[in-house]
Symmetry: C2
Subunit: 341 residues, 2 copies
């Protein structure tokens, strides 16, 4: 059994600003000023203090600093707790972007998972007031999280888009991207496409649907609602959609995301249906999973880390009182690969 040495609490033996002041025969404010650089101070005393600090490895107490000026130096990262495994890497890369920027400004990330119909995690973060701002990693069509954030008086940005007014949004231009890819497919002579999509309550899926439809229309192909499969949330849904699309003799399966595409490929492989010989496959999201497939899958490529970095930078600016754009659209890339040859 191990037990914590009781005379070793967090502040145990830790230097405070008062200790430094006393040791150096100056006042606390002098020390504070030396550290922050705010207010006038002689170069002499400043270096004297700084030297002492370096030598004695003093670390300011962020809590106290926070209390004194109503800041926490934390930002909240709100991420869906029930996203499927294939979506995890996306959020993880986003978070890495957030953390990179946050760290550069000496901010830390407080994480909270939200589940469908369970706002408690988000509410905790807001209520506890341990963050200066919040980044919501994904948006829903009628998003209770966004509503909750709008009510809580706390700066926030969302990664994704939302119909809600006055929300700072960082997103890729999914509509344009999906339209472009779809158009290209049609230009290649593919006239009959199926679109298999997940949860239609996710804004991103709505955008992808719209992009797909726009692309179909722009390509002069009559939109065919019978080959649009929304809300394929389970693998069974996806398989059912795929089966029907195959029966309908579509030439290309366009998958809204990674997970769907992975499932589609798996099924086609299992049934000995060859890509792109028998049928072509494209995806509106790229992942390593798809890229290392044989053949690699034509897809759209976004930069999730960039998304996170931009979101964090924007939030920090906003917290800082600087004006920021209500909507930032990041770019995308169309990756034509072997699956649509």
């Amino acid at each position: 059994m191990v037990q914590l040495n009781p005379n070793n609490p967090l502040d145990g033996g830790k230097l405070t600003i008062a200790d430094i002041a006393e040791a150096l025969g100056v006042s606390k404010s002098t020390v504070s000023r030396s550290i922050s650089g705010k207010g006038r101070i002689s170069e002499d005393t400043r270096t004297k203090v700084l030297d002492f600090i370096a030598e004695h490895d003093y670390k300011p107490n962020q809590l106290a600093r926070g209390l004194a000026n109503s800041k926490t130096y934390n930002i909240g990262w709100i991420v869906p707790g029930d996203s499927d495994n294939d979506a995890l890497p996306f959020f993880q890369r986003c978070m890495m972007g957030v953390e990179e920027i946050a760290a550069a400004f000496d901010y830390d990330i407080l994480i909270s998972l939200v589940f469908d119909n369970d706002l408690s995690g988000l509410q905790r973060v807001i209520n506890n007031r341990k963050v200066d701002g919040i980044i919501l990693a994904r948006t829903l069509l009628d998003d209770p999280n966004v509503k909750c954030l709008l009510e809580g008086e706390i700066p926030f940005v969302v990664i994704g888009s939302t119909p809600e007014k006055g929300v700072i949004q960082i997103d890729n231009d999914h509509v344009a991207a999906c339209k472009e890819l779809t158009s290209i497919l049609i230009l290649k002579g593919i006239r009959k496409l199926a679109f298999i999509c997940g949860n239609s309550n996710h804004v991103v899926n709505q955008s992808r649907l719209k992009g797909f439809m726009d692309g179909v229309e722009a390509g002069g192909v009559k939109p065919d609602n019978s080959n649009i499969y929304m809300d394929c949330d389970t693998d069974e849904d996806i398989e059912r959609a795929l089966d029907e699309a195959l029966r309908n003799k579509v030439q290309c399966i366009v998958c809204a995301d990674d997970h769907i595409c992975y499932t589609v490929i798996n099924n086609l492989n299992r049934d000995g249906i060859s890509i792109p010989g028998d049928i072509k496959v494209a995806s509106f999201y790229n992942s390593i999973l798809l890229d290392r497939n044989q053949p690699p899958i034509t897809s759209l490529q976004y930069d999730p880390k960039e998304l996170g970095m931009t979101a964090c930078r924007t939030l920090l600016d906003y917290i800082d009182g600087q004006p920021v754009n209500e909507k930032v659209m990041l770019s995308y890339e169309v990756m034509l690969k072997g699956s649509t040859l």
Copy 2:
């Protein structure tokens, strides 16, 4: 452009304990006591205060509370930032366990990513003292993170094992688990096995290797070092190991983890080598990926969420000054599936 309303800082219009005290004509300490329940207080005043609080939606400032009693009510979750996509779900599920327990005790999770040879993230967390304790999500053989934590005077537990003394460890019994699965395979008549493993600097991989060797020995099979492939960090390494194992005519490929197993299966499928007909495959870690494979893969199963929950509970106990076990071993399950029939 959107801009933050400047008269809406974090504390803007927020009620404080002093406001409540004044409104109710009592002292601050009475209010404080009513909330915390510490110290004696009459039921009357207590409900009076609580009612007021409920009605006016008062939320205590956790920062101030923390400063007053040297606590942050945060715990740090240190997770490798460069783990491959296949490992992400494991850490994510762990974290969900951590967060579940943490939330129950009104603790929040501060996240920090660590990369190989980059301790800055961890150091920031320690230095900023914004956490009461830390959970390290993975251990290395000669782990700089553990060393760093040992120096920083902060309670911590690791998920995984470490040779370092005096470290609180929560782990599955990988050695026993891997030994058991290996023994079973041998009992089924498989005499020639290959073991393909990742980074040998990860403690878990060392344990798996040991378990495998123990199992081989217990099964009365002469250990064959030529079919042990360590440090297969890239897909190319894995493929090379697989090729050699196939040339050596092993009967079963035992994969140390998800990612390796996934790559192995992919390669076998691509080359038309059938499982379990031509060769059998087993994995020392189960994932949905492997379970939905055709055929499903024989593997070990652990409960990552349980790992996280136990780690968090242990850490909280430890922070609380209660004695805790230096090492907690969680159980495992052997899942025999079609890949080793």
